[in-house]
Amino acid sequence: MVSRSAASGSPQTKPQRAVARIDQNAPVNFTFDGRSYRGFAGDTLASALLANNVHLVGRSFKYHRPRGIMAAGSEEPNALIRLGKGAYAEPNLRATQIEIFEGLYAESQNRTPSLKFDIGAINSVLDRFFPAGFYYKTFMWPASMWMRYEHVIRHAAGLGKVADDHNDPDRYEKTHAHCDILVAGGGATGLMAALQAAKSGTRVILADEQNEFGGWLLGEADIMIGDCPAFNWISDIVAELAAMPNVTLLPRTTVFGYLDHNYLTLNERATDHLPSRPAHLPRQRLWKIRAKQVIIAQGAHERPLVFAGNDLPGVMLAGAVRTYINRYGVCPGQRAIVVCNNDDAYRTALDLHHAGAHVVVADLRAKATGPLMRAVRDAGIEILQGHAVIAAYGNHRVARVEIAPVNDAVTEISGDIDHRDCDLIAMSGGLSPAVHLHSQARGKLQWDDAKLCFRPSATHEPSFNIGACNGSFDLSAGLKEAVRAGTKAASATGHKTTALDTPIVQSHKQSWCPLAAWKIPNGHAAGRGPKAFVDFQNDVTASDVSLAAREGYQSVEHLKRYTTTGMGTDQGKTSNINALAILADALGNEIPAVGTTTFRMPYTPSNIGAIAGRDIGDLFDPVRLTRMDDWHRAHGATFEHVGQWMRAWYYPQNGETMQQAVNREVKAARTTAGLLDASTLGKIDIRGRDAAEFLNRLYTNAWRKLGIGKCRYGLMLKDDGMVMDDGVTTRIGENHFHMTTTTGGAAGVLDWMEEWLQTEWPDLEVYLTSVTEQWAVATLSGPNAGKILQDAGIDFDLSPAEFPFMSMKEGHIGGLAARIFRISFTGELSYEINVAARHGLALWTRLMAAGKAHGITPYGTEAMHVLRAEKGFIIVGQETDGSVTPHDLCMNWIVSKTKPDFIGKRALARHTMEYDDRKQLVGLLCSDPSTVIPEGAHAVLDPDQPLPMKMLGQVTSSYFSPNCGRSIAMAMLKGGHALKGQTVFFPMLDGSILKAEIVDTAFFDPKGARING
């Protein structure tokens, strides 16, 4: 026996029959809206606030109406709370799910300046401006006003404020698990099914969103299982499950998503209930579980009744009232009206009566009989049959009601209105099975015309629905389903088990078939009377739903979007059935014909932090570093991201600006020598009998006759004829090639080659190995490159006769085994020196030491870009965008006319390829040599033409070239090849117009005279 001792002078405590699940020896202090309160361990924020006589806990979304606590679980639409401070603050948490802990800090939401006095409540008076679809109607026209509207809407939209500091300091984890059977929901039937299945030895995971297993039974005082109170049965079965090695129990864990092939996502609130988090535990943990079988035991949600003023603080769901009395030992009112269309609420009347409250029952049904009614009458409680609460009134809490007799269909008031004082309304409109997970998994629903609810019919995934979520509200029936599902699921996973005896349940005999009464009349014309809410969180009233139907929003999906009913953090758990029943009524249609909206994950809001887990910051994406990275850092390099790689961008010296540093690096590469870390280039080792034939089909040019030790530039097309990658490939041996790709294209090119080999040409014998990270590459470029290699200790003859351009030799440099390629991306004498990755840094430092006397200068990717642009070399992905052919790039010279086939050959012959308005590569010289035209700038032929101007194309590369002494650019222009010599214009954002001449792309050394140094 627990009687809750008074906290903050609350008068509302009385001894209860069952043992409440709070520990009165463990007081807990917490703060709500700046005031200190005391609750007990085991309390939720909602139960502790009610125990402290706090009923007003928030303001509503649209009208800023005072709102209280309506439910006792995750379906709560009203009591949304901002928890914590600063970076730890989290908005829109349900007070009914927050376990209190010492020092808990909570604030109400959506009120300015305070909960009791909220200036937004003026919206309530201006309500005729806020009908259904009000945003759509109000903010439609003129379009020029949208910018202003958007500000207003954004300011008004949303309930809670996010954290003040957006860097969430908490740690989240993700974990993967496999099991034979996942049981979603740890109420009576979930526990029973888990035990039944686990007895077979099958691996079971049982998850429940509450801190304790037991579900709604934790809040019931009048149910015996076996010969003892239900709670004893719960604790026995939980203890038995906990002792089984094949069972994992996950309390505080919501199964929030049910995806294909029995893949489920769970959010475990591992430490949210603790005043401080142990270092070894995350705040929350996301579980990704693959189960062979799923047993869904989600329970049901009680529906509100739709009467005027049903949103006042003090108007609660009848089942929730029982939970507060029995589980938390707090009676939420002293003068209670129970209003219902079913038997179940009579149990609330009895519990209220036993808790010492004065109770009146208003039953919408004219003739309800049975043992429960007798028990209530025997307790001396007044029952008004065929009566409804037609309106509730109060300021910050319900204070009085109007009760009136109604006709059998509850469509009209049929007698005099009676006024009663009260401080609590316990309402019950029947139960809606929580079919969310079943529906997420694309299970089918059927309408139960007797129980007035949708319940599961066919499942789509290997799963079972049991108990209340299956529409089996009677506990005995639910337990029988649990035994059956547990046995069947175990057997489906290959485990045998004999059916357990279903325990005997002793409870009031009751009917589970409520009266259909969706909208309670209030004696006013439609839309005139006080508001009767359907969706509490979104402030959608019964007349909003009817109005939407009249305006033509007849699909339930349209109704949802137009009125916003069923949106928000509760996703309409308490409101959806009422809304679509009222819609069906307005349309003169049957409820099942109207149907439900789509159930989507998450079941309840899930923290993004848990979904991101550790994949944030440095761990968001791997960063790849070259073997020379330490040197670049030690020498002050600035870096840029190239895909996952970090590449040295430029090496500023003595306070140089970027432009100054790049100019110096570019200059050095053409006057003395430059050294580039080219390790990130994609490298693929190609071997096999048919390697040459494969390259012949892959590239546009000929490869079969390439000599051993020779290099060749190749262009790769997709089969639509568009350029996808380029690079130099070298024949190492008869059946052995070394391919290079662009840095960004490496993985894609390997995928591409594997795909063709496996799917189109499986007869070719070719083996591919990515060797990008096996080789470190330093590119030495410039007139002094040969001298530096000599001084660095090269062991073979570098003379052009012995080592011509476009060839490769294997040798040693300073004792390091190397493959040296005489290829050039700068147009200068250039060597790409490849050594085993572990020798990369040694190679680099040796070259730098040997080059000191020869003016060696390290250069980064920016100088590399300028150097290649000076030569008019393209970069795939910069000049090209997947819609560019070799012809567009003036690269017909590389496309074989004689090969019978290569990837892209047929597509290049399509007639559309001959259109003369294709964008083609050209060079540009700005009329002002010091102005660098911005990349992406759009060209027009006539800057004075009317808007919208005819665009020719865009600048793809643009730099200042220190070697040309002026700015240079490349562009893709429509019919560009034929425009050579003409002038184009670039209208800029600031109103100025740049002017440029169309020229060839080879800006520097167009004859290629410098290639041998």
Binding site: L259, D260, H261, Y263, R290, R442, H460, D719, D720, D751, E754, E755, W756, Q758, T759, E760, P762, P900, D901, F902, K905, R906, A907, A909, R910, H911, T912
Partner: protein
């Protein structure tokens, strides 16, 4: 998220795989003289059926092998998994293959004979 049974590695999560789109699109050889419109059947036209679909998948984060999957796009039921270069044997999948409009296209007839029979793959 699907479970896909890689013929080489066994059942794995979908995240390890990449879908390569419609299967059995035979590639016409470049030297065959088919019209641009016929070639477009190969290059551009892709089916997007509601129901059974024959598609290519690859175990990209595993063994990197390609294979064919007969999957119902509505229920996500995987009816059959069969090797690249072969045809399905389950009745429903076989019917899907045989009744495809592609079987009569000039593009498919212009493909290597062995490929078009095995239903090529690009």
């Amino acid at each position: 998220m699907l479970i896909i049974t890689c013929p080489f590695c066994g059942p794995r999560d979908e995240v390890e795989f990449a879908c390569g789109g419609e299967a059995h699109i035979a590639r016409p050889l470049a030297d065959h003289k088919i019209s641009d419109a016929d070639f477009a059947d190969y290059l551009f036209m892709r089916d997007n059926p509601k129901g059974l679909f024959l598609e290519r998948w690859r175990h990209s984060a595993g063994c990197r092998r390609w294979f064919n999957v007969a999957r119902d796009t509505v229920s996500n039921e995987i009816v059959e998994i069969y090797p690249m270069g072969s045809l399905p044997v389950k009745t429903a999948a076989k019917t899907t293959y045989k009744t495809s409009w592609r079987r009569d296209t000039a593009a498919e007839k212009a493909a290597t004979p062995s490929r078009s029979k095995a239903g090529g793959s690009k």
